[in-house]
Symmetry: C2
C-alpha cells in the first residue's frame, strides 16, 4: 500500500528531554511503524540534546543519542526536523534559528518565545522556506491552532475566549466548589502537582498572556506579542468574589480573550487576560479542574468549542507529533505548509479602548441618596448600569452593581471615582463579566 | 506583503445552490479579498450548476454564472476547484469523478456518497493527484476531520463518540426536558424547522451512520462503509426510557461510536449508531438542542471534545471554505494534501462482537425466586450484572438491571432469553449504557 520503504528516512533532533521530550522520544520509538506509514518515510531520532547527560529518563534508548551539544546537533546534515521542547527564550531561540538556517523544519511548544519574538522566528522560517509549527504551545493536546489557521481559513473569527491555563482553572474550580480562598486552593494545587513551587507564571497570568498573543495572531492575521496583551492574574480573586459570582448564576474563570473590533478607522483587535465572571450555562463554565478549552465565535461557523487536557507530557507530545508528521510530509514533498499569516495587520487596541462589563461591590453608608450619588458617578463616566442590588443595612450596607458594556477605561475611572466618594466606605470587589449565556 | 497579485486566479465551479451552496457563493464573493490573501491568489467563481435556472437566490451574482449543465461546467479548463453540495449518490458521484479526471480538486459535503462509495472517489483523487476534501460532511462547522487526520496523526485514537445528528439530539433533548414522547417531540422539531417533513434519514440513524463510517475511517486508518455500521434509530425511545435514564443520573443521546479493539488476531475496529444512556456529568451530556459534538479518546492526548453547530447553511459553508482554501493553496504549489489513509486495514467487527453495557427493565411476577431466576439467565450467557433495582409490588413489580460490559450478542441473547421466561411479563426497556463519567 504505502510507499515509505522507498523513501529515505527523515532525521529528527530532539531539544530537551523533560516531561514532554521524554514522551516525544517514547512515541517516536514505540509508534515508529505507524508514523512511517502516515508520513510516507521512517522518522529516525538522530540525537537528544540535554543540559546534563547521564540522567536516567526511563527510556529504552541508545545512550549515544544523548548530547549536551545542542548547537552541533541542530546543524547536523542528517537532521531534517528539529523538535524544541526546552522552553524559555535562550538558548531556545538561537537553536531554532540555527536549525532553520541549516535547512531543518522546526516544531516547538515554546509559547513564551513565540509570544515575545515570533516575528524573528517566522522571518527565519520564511527565508529558509521551512515549516515552523507550534500546536503544542497553546492548550496542550487540544487541536486549536490548526483549526484556526486552516479549518476556519474561509471564515471570519470575531472572538476567541480561552481557558488556557490549567493551574489557575484548577485553583478557581477549587475555590468555587469548596469556598476556600486563593491561598488555600493554591496550596492544594501545589500539593497535587497542578501548580509549581513558584507559581508566578501561572497565577499572574503570564502563561495565559503568551497563549492569548498566539491565538490572537492566528485568529486575526495580525502580529500580536505578549507585550500587546493586557494581563491580570488571579491572586486578587477572593472567596467573596467567587460567592458573588455564584449568587449571579456565574462562575469565575481566568480567561484569555481575543476580539475583533469595528472602529471608525476600520478594524482593530485586542487581547487580554483577566479573571471574569461567566454565566454558569456557558460551555466554558463547565470546564473543570485543570482542563483547558477554547471557545471560538466566527461569522459563518458560529460558536465552536475545543476541549481537552491543556498540559502534561503525553498530551503535549501528541500535539508535537501531529506537527512533526505534517512537517515531515512537507519535507518529503519539498513544500511548506501554512506559514505566518499577518496580512490583515490590524491595530492592536490598548485595554482602555476595549469594551467590557464590570461587577462592582461597594460598602456604603446606609443613608438616603447613596444610590442616587453612586448612579451619578457611573453616568458621569458614560457607564450605563444594568442591575443594582442593595444588601444589608447599617454598617453592612452594600451595593452590588453590574454594568452594561462600556469602554474599559471609563469603567476603571468610575471605580476610581467611587473609591473617592465620602459615602463609599470601600470598593470590596471589582470583576469583569464576560460571555453571553448560551 | 502577500504576493497574490502575481499569481493567476483559481477558477471555482459550484455544484448545487441550496442552503449551503448559496452561503458558499456569498462568502466567495463577500470575502474575496481576505480569501485571496490567505490563498495567495484570487478565487474566481466560474459557474454554479443548478437543477432549474431562473430561481432568485438572494445573491448579487451575474445571471450568466448559473447553468443547468453541470457536466460541462466541471470539465471547463478554467476550473481548478469543484465544490459539490448537491448531496445524494447520483449525479454527485459522476460529477466528482469527472472533475477529478479533468484535473480539478474537489471539496464535498456529501456524507452519504463518501460512506457508500468513498473508495471509488479516493482512488480517482489518487490517480489524478488531486485533493478530495470533505470536512463539511461530518458535524457541519466543527473542525473534526482535519484534527483527526492531521493534528492526531502522531497519536493513537482509541474511541470516537459523536453526537453528529442535530435533529435527533433536538428531539431527545426535548423529551428529556419536557417529558414528552418521541412523536410529540418530533412534531415540535418539525414545526421549528429542525426536522424534515420526511425525517427518516435522521430518526432512523442513516445520517449518523454515514458520519460514523467517515469518522471511523479517519480515526483508524481503515476503510469503513455505511454498510459496516450497526444502526438503530431513536423511534423506539420512550418517555419511560428517558425517565429511567434520569433516575440513573444519565441522559439519552443518539451516539455514533467508533472503537478500536484488541483481538487475539491483532486489532479490529467497530462503528455503530444507537441511542444510549450516558452519565449526566459527561461532556457530551451537556450538548443541547441541535448542537453537535465529537468526543475523542486517544492514547497520548487523552480526552478531547469538539463542539459546535452541526448543520445549517453558514456553518457548513465555513467548513467548505476552509477546505477550499487548503485545496487552492495546494493547487498553487502543485502539491496534494493528506489523502485517504487506510494503511492499517483493520478488520471491522460486526455489532455482536463489540462490547457494550445494557440497561434492561422488565415487568415480573412478584414472587420468591424471580431475582434468582433472572440472574441465572444473565450468567447463563456470561453476562455479569452491575446493579439491580427492584421497584413496585404485585402487578407493578419491576426489575431494573444494569450490566457490566459484555459481548453485545450475549447481551442480546440474554434479553431474548428473559422475554421467554414465564415469570417475566414484559421487557419494557432495553438500552445500551455508554461512556464513563468524567
Amino acid at each position: 500500500m504505502s510507499q515509505h520503504s522507498e523513501k529515505r528516512p527523515l532525521g529528527i533532533a530532539l531539544l530537551g528531554c523533560g516531561v514532554v521530550g521524554t514522551e516525544v522520544a517514547r512515541l517516536l520509538t514505540e509508534q515508529g511503524g505507524e508514523l512511517a506509514a502516515r508520513v510516507g518515510a521512517p522518522l529516525e531520532l538522530r540525537g537528544i540534546a540535554v543540559r546534563r547527560s547521564g540522567r536516567a529518563r526511563g527510556l529504552d534508548l541508545d545512550a549515544q543519542l544523548f548530547t549536551t551539544d545542542a548547537e552541533s546537533l541542530v546543524r547536523r546534515d542528517d537532521v531534517d526536523l528539529v523538535v524544541e521542547v526546552i522552553g524559555g527564550i535562550e538558548p531556545a531561540r538561537s537553536l531554532i534559528l540555527a536549525a532553520l538556517e541549516h535547512g531543518a523544519s522546526v516544531v516547538t511548544a515554546n509559547k513564551a518565545l513565540l509570544a515575545e519574538d515570533g516575528a524573528t522566528l517566522f522571518a527565519a522560517a520564511e527565508k529558509a522556506q521551512r515549516d515552523l509549527y507550534f500546536e503544542a504551545s497553546v492548550a496542550g493536546a487540544i487541536p486549536i491552532l490548526r483549526p484556526l489557521a486552516e479549518s476556519l481559513a474561509g471564515d471570519r473569527v470575531r472572538r476567541v475566549i480561552g481557558i488556557v491555563n490549567g493551574t489557575t482553572n484548577f485553583v478557581l474550580d477549587r475555590m468555587s466548589t469548596s469556598g476556600t480562598g486563593f491561598t488555600e486552593a493554591l496550596e492544594e494545587a501545589q500539593a497535587l502537582g497542578y501548580a509549581e513551587a513558584d507559581p508566578t507564571a501561572d497565577v499572574e497570568g503570564f502563561d495565559a498572556a503568551a497563549k492569548a498573543a498566539i491565538l490572537a495572531g492566528l485568529a486575526f492575521h495580525t502580529r500580536v506579542t505578549a507585550a500587546d496583551v493586557y494581563r491580570e492574574g488571579i491572586t486578587e480573586v477572593s472567596a467573596g468574589d467567587v460567592a458573588s459570582a455564584t449568587e449571579m448564576g456565574c462562575v469565575v474563570k481566568l480567561l484569555a480573550i481575543c476580539e475583533r473590533h469595528d472602529t471608525p478607522d476600520g478594524e482593530a483587535v485586542s487581547a487580554r487576560v483577566h479573571p471574569a465572571m461567566i454565566p454558569a450555562d456557558h460551555p466554558l463554565a463547565s470546564v473543570r479542574e485543570a482542563y483547558n478549552a477554547v471557545f471560538v465565535e466566527s461569522e459563518a461557523a458560529g460558536r465552536l468549542m475545543f476541549y481537552g487536557p491543556g498540559a502534561g507530557g503525553p498530551p503535549t507530545a501528541s500535539a508535537v507529533l501531529g506537527d512533526l508528521v505534517s512537517a515531515a510530509r512537507n519535507r518529503l514533498s519539498d513544500v511548506r505548509g501554512v506559514g505566518e499569516s499577518v496580512h490583515a495587520q490590524c491595530e492592536v487596541l490598548p485595554m482602555g479602548d476595549t469594551y467590557t462589563r464590570y461587577h462592582v461591590a461597594i460598602d456604603v453608608d446606609d443613608r438616603t441618596g447613596v444610590l442616587a450619588s453612586v448612579a451619578t458617578e457611573f453616568s458621569r463616566h458614560g457607564v450605563s448600569i444594568q442591575t443594582v442590588r442593595q444588601e444589608g443595612r447599617g454598617d453592612d450596607a452594600q451595593l452590588v452593581i453590574v454594568t452594561h458594556r462600556a469602554r474599559d477605561a471609563d469603567l476603571a475611572a468610575t471605580v476610581a471615582g467611587l473609591a473617592g466618594m465620602d459615602m463609599v466606605r470601600e470598593v470590596t470587589s471589582v470583576m469583569r463579566v464576560e460571555a453571553e449565556p448560551e
